[in-house]
Symmetry: D2
């Protein structure tokens, strides 16, 4: 089915495969009048590009975005915004070795079972390159949110056994470390751990977090379009994510109610919580506090050790994956998490503008 469309009012449709001609996204429902340039989008795409460091693939991906429609004289017109990135460096080499092979941890087998065959070049639609469309659209969502006073920030929380130290949270480090960790000390240790795994022909898992700051209370729609439910879907839809937590997440299951409840107090005229175990969401609706989401990401399934598997002819075989693969997914997935969060929050905010009769009477003029 149609599974590549996301959102109700701010609706995006992504397309493209790893080694096809291009990848892209159509944003439908973007409010008119937003100043928007290719540079606004390019800077987000650059964050998901492989870098030059030892922990990312030496592959060169020159992902240059082109705005094809929906922007006139520098502003969005309210009509669909089509964004495209041409594939330039995806040289189609000889794929005969893997065309019929089911790589462990990959979607080769399940795509074949669903569709009868698959585009086997570089993972096709199940490649990480699929996220180009998400990030291009998310860049636009982030720009709108910033103009509405909402800031979305994602970062790496842990790589293998190395976890950031929240006591020394360094926001500047996120965009300036190869791990996207907000902690330069953890970054250093993580790189060491990654290099060791890499030299063992292995890969590493990790976790990432995303904060939404400045979100007003009242966003999210019970009972199925709760803000946390939609965030869980958005983040779980990112390849390799296997768990999503809101606020204190898994910790709540071993807590007492008296420990876990966030008591309310006044801060001047503002209702606040003394703690934020809830992660900024109560009953599926934002409470005005920082929304916090955490995701756990599996290790890159492409490892260079020999692995047992089967092929499409149902023969048991041994494979040894070659090519250029990151030893960890998380650092490049951080911007994807940020973008999926932004898309989700923005859509909920747009929907919320008609939640009360008084809003409508104000907008249209009551009688």
């Amino acid at each position: 089915m149609a599974g590549s469309t996301y959102g109700t009012i701010f609706k995006i449709t992504t397309w493209g495969e790893s080694h096809g001609k291009a990848l892209g996204v159509v944003i439908d429902g973007c409010p008119a009048g937003l100043a928007l340039s290719e540079e606004d989008i390019q800077k987000y795409l650059n964050r998901r590009k492989p870098g030059a460091s030892s922990i990312t693939t030496p592959r060169k991906e020159d992902d240059t975005v082109e705005i094809l429609s929906g922007v006139f004289e520098g502003r969005t017109t309210g009509t669909p915004i089509s964004l495209m990135v041409r594939n330039t460096s995806q040289i189609s080499r000889d794929y005969s070795a893997i065309a019929k092979c089911y790589r462990p941890g990959h979607a080769d087998y399940t795509f074949d079972e669903k569709y009868g065959f698959r585009d086997y070049r570089g993972g096709g639609r199940s490649s990480g390159r699929e996220t180009i469309g998400r990030v291009a659209a998310g860049a636009v969502a982030c720009k709108i949110l910033e103009q509405l006073g909402v800031k979305v920030t994602a970062y790496t929380r842990s790589i293998g056994p190395v976890t950031i130290d929240y006591e020394h949270f360094d926001r500047d480090a996120i965009l300036n470390t190869v791990t996207a960790m907000p902690d330069r000390n953890a970054d250093k240790k993580a790189v060491e751990f990654l290099n060791e795994a890499r030299s063992n022909y292995d890969s590493v898992g990790g976790s990432m977090e995303c904060m939404v700051e400045g979100l007003p209370a009242g966003i999210g729609d019970p009972v199925f379009e709760k803000l946390d439910a939609n965030l869980a879907k958005a983040i779980m839809s990112i390849g390799a994510v296997k768990a999503v937590e809101i606020g204190d997440g898994t910790l709540v299951s071993s807590r007492l109610g008296s420990e876990n409840n966030d008591s309310f107090r006044m801060n001047g005229e503002q209702v606040m919580k003394n703690t934020n175990h809830a992660g900024g969401i109560l009953g599926g609706i934002s409470d005005g506090d920082t929304v916090l989401i955490r995701a756990h990401v599996k290790p890159t399934p492409s490892i260079f050790k020999p692995q047992q598997t089967v092929n499409a002819d149902h023969q048991e075989i041994e494979i040894q994956i070659k090519g250029r693969h990151d030893p960890i997914i998380v650092p490049r997935a951080v911007v994807v998490m940020e973008c999926m969060t932004a898309l989700t929050v923005l859509d909920a905010m747009l929907i919320n503008t008609s939640a009360r009769m008084e809003y409508l009477e104000h907008f249209y003029g009551g009688q």
Copy 2:
């Protein structure tokens, strides 16, 4: 916005508040020809009713379902199935004490912020009674799935510090213990722990799991309608759930790729995985193995200890909640998890029937 509708082909719309006249659900898109009686649904509703044991509320909820439409001569007609449960024991007592109070851990504040006011009787729409509609619809989904060879089973995994022993997994115990644990020993310990918490005027968190057995490979639609993404949304939309895991979940973030990849092998003519860290889903599509979902549930926010909070007039106050409240949410939420999982899986299966041209040619007769 309209947040009470779930599903694309098998679409449900729930309605009703804790202390309103009734609660219910409309199931739209149920395939025609399913044998269906009120008893099929009632047995699921009975699983979420409070029981007589010490760990559930002594409240009596006589939740009797009535089929109002969509079933004729014992079979579904393909038209909307309306199911209703009248509220009979929700005596509207004096709510003046809590009408303007924001209870910690509850959605009182966020509903007020979103809608301008709220139905404060018993939590209104944010009450656990909201799940009656989910369970009634889920019972129908489960019946269809069983006829298609798919079995959905949820159970309590942990209560506070007490976790089930998978070595002695006892499926019969799920419906025959007050905790819904598949382990009678753990059940006993958990009840002790709960009684202690209860006597301290406190409540307890826990976790639950759901298995989907017999699901064919190929179900789920990349990239936003992935099976795991929709399951995450479905389960996170249940009140009090704060984390959702698929397969090994949070564990993957500290693993190596060589540990986490599930290698493939042949089992006769059938492709199988040697392990199931992935939880039966690869690239968002079912792989034929058991799908496993885990959810972490916060402690009941209604505790009997005094708590600091504020009211709608923005005064800081102390409240002491009274009434009848379970000390734990999980055992009664297990059937809700089972139902939300069934609804999600069934909808994905219905969508999948048009995934390939060969399916359509077979269905309509090709040229």
Copy 3:
């Protein structure tokens, strides 16, 4: 599939069959804070009830609506509003004569082909009683629109050869004639024509129109959610409607451009059109003028003359329909047209509140 849900933000789901236990609708996404009583809805339902006159069925339908959820202390809460009408006078008589018969002009055959069987009592879901849910929901939409300054008015335009005289349009007559014609003279002639057809055991077609007055310019979303496109769907979905026109409708196909274009002029500070051939919609977006929709409705298919047909056993038979049937559909369908129009216009207005960045910056406070 799920075909009983309509709308994006103001979303309704109708359910129920002619001779089932009840019929109803769930309204999801109604803005919070609307004063709403059962009387508000009942007065619309009463307009579709059969009356005592010769042109409507002598059937007694005591359609009393009950609000089951979503209204608290006289105001909508923003949560789903469940409305139900119990079937009380639908005595299930002996249907064996028609259970297997395919009545000409009815949906008996197509329901059997689609679903494999059908609820044959009184037309089941394809009965005109299905519109109870539409009208109950539409009554709420109309009330909201009125508070926003938008007035929706439908009426009978023609019955057989008798057409209203627009020169003597009498708005008061709509609710005070048995034909719902805004012209008492035409009403009188139409009744005569109907009585004649009735005495010949025949039925009569007719047409109806709906005006939307006070709608601001800017409503409707190109290119598939154009206001006229959605109105066409809404009105064509009413049973027995076979054509829908906007503005001058079918006349435009024989016009010259110089005749059909509506030139603009200023009316004080307000842009206006000198004529309204367009029916208030340009490019799928309202232009501030009155929106005009026209629908053509086939004669009641239940006629008392003998007819040739076949049965489910594929035998050619002759049937003679008995029972209580209106000789014309239009007068009771007028309120349905009004309601479907209101639902469509309101949903488009709710969606429009996020069309521009400046709206959002005003709502959320810009940076």
Copy 4:
């Protein structure tokens, strides 16, 4: 809002403006395994291109389609198909004369009212070039339908006062006359009429029809997703269409029931109707007969006579439109009607594959 997405299972999203960089469509939910080439699509696009005859604009539009994703080794993969047409001949000339002018019959005013400003070059998104995406997607839908035995054929029915003679319906003429009329005699007369109007600086309205042959009974979903309701929306969403009829359409409103009912008979083992006043749809579900839809299209609003209007500064002005404009819309809109019909019918057919339990048990294997 997001108004550029159409369809539930076979879902398309169109984008692009008249004078932007490109136009296109993303098809999401196309069944896997369809043989598809650019030539399959190009031949439909060529039908909407302006030709060399006197009745179409002398504008050269070299609309060459490129498949950017979703097709691998000549077959659809089940993932999104992105199709793009670069704008090559849309030279941006000096638009200062019309940038602020509201042309009568165009959407200039309403776009400004909705979005605050507009892309004024060549009509922007409200240009007829918007239909490129519809046609490209419709070409794919038509190819699938043909493989399932369903044939969709649209043609011009009338131009001004000239209507085709059904007695001499000449299917070959549709693609071989400049008017797309299935009647060479009418074509000749219509061209004369058009040339006369053209020499008077005027334009002409017309009507078109679409037949769906070979559609099995049972397609369409009551009560809001009825086949006729969705066709009405699909066709009314085409720019300049002001009325949509199904079967005998407007004629039914002046008929008697005994005239309008289609009686059933047997044709061998097949249930048939003796007549087809209903246009192949009963109760919103296909009845196995030919589906017939008729649309009335207004004259091209761009005429070369001087017209009164206002500008964005709210001054009353006179304009005289220049440039290259067809004197009639219909002949080039015929393929658009064919494509919108195909998209609607195909989507309903895909949805129908899960309408009965027996279908599902057959597909998944029952228990």
